[in-house]
Amino acid sequence: MSDTFNEGITCEFLDDCDIVWDRPDSLLDTRLHYCPGCGHSVVHRLLMEVVDELGIRDRTIGIAPVGCSVFAYNYLNIDMQQAAHGRATAVATGIKRVRPDRIVFTYQGDGDLAAIGTGETIHTVNRGENIVIIFINNGIYGMTGGQMAPTTLPGVKTSTTTSGRDVSIHGHPLKIAEMLALLPGAYYVTRTSVISANHVRKTKKALLKAFKYQMEGKGGVSFVEVVSNCPAGWKMTPVDSNKWLETNVFDNFPLGDIKLPVKD
């Protein structure tokens, strides 16, 4: 990490200080391509914090989806495979079945996981594959220019719902986490966000839990949904996009655990 570039105040007592927070080792020292304020970057970093804390870099394989996070492997210093659109959980299944000793996770957006890949998602969870699925739900197709996603809320304007999502035409937002929680193969299903430091801490705890469950070989998928923002796609400032999440989105996608492991 580079030294201070601050043009603001400098510190007189830095020699007496401990570093209490720094970039995780496994996050490559590369400028991320995401738009300013994008939640993807935060979750990428949290993932690498978790990988470093658990000491599993040498046996973790991540699956990148198609969407904004298609280039996740440019930032995460772990072995990765890039999957066809929607098929990340099938790819993860292939890996985990031939190498059960590896730690495998998918990282997918709402278009990837809940539209084109719905079949793979449901069946992977239903088979109870011992993997982690990280689901970034920002209610929009960011990479292709802001079209309606399966999770777009009613009334929200996108480039394919210019007068707002009309459920009589476009159907309803898909609450896939609640659907998946019904399946016996789902071990742990939770929904978090990264809009504030406290939410970030909770998301990290959820990710830690999910990976630990996999390492312990607990039966089933650990599914962490992060309700996130898309400032560029929503045409808001990053700060406003996080406020919008709090005032509009969390009512429809309530945060918290949806399914907890049954106590042994």
């Binding site: 990490m1 580079s2 030294d3 201070t4 570039f5 601050n6 043009e7 603001g8 105040i9 510190c11 007592f13 830095l14 020699d15 007496d16 200080c17 401990d18 570093i19 209490v20 927070w21 720094d22 970039r23 995780p24 996050l27 400028r31 991320l32 995401y34 738009c35 300013p36 304020g37 994008c38 939640g39 993807h40 970057s41 935060v42 970093r45 990264v194 809009i195 504030s196 430091a197 970030v200 801490r201 400032p231 400032t237 990053p238 700060v239 996080n242």
Partner: protein, 96 residues
Amino acid sequence: MAKIKGHISINIDNCKGCELCIVECPQDSLKMSEHINTQGYHYAVLVQDNCTGCTNCALVCPEAIITVYRESKNKTKKERVAVITNVTENITVNVS
């Protein structure tokens, strides 16, 4: 109770000016610079000497460019070492 003293350093070249750290700081220690960085963004800077090293700014920072320091709880001064180079040999001197 005296407040914990903290400090942050920001890799301003990689800041994208999202301002999430500014709203998150409980001490209002940060603001946006009037200057722009090499990417063309205004960037966050620490402007008040009241940082507590709470890490909130770093946790919400999407670019992971904030390093957070906190004054050591262990007050015993760290041993500092100065090396004086002599023509014939190196002499190490402890300074308190």
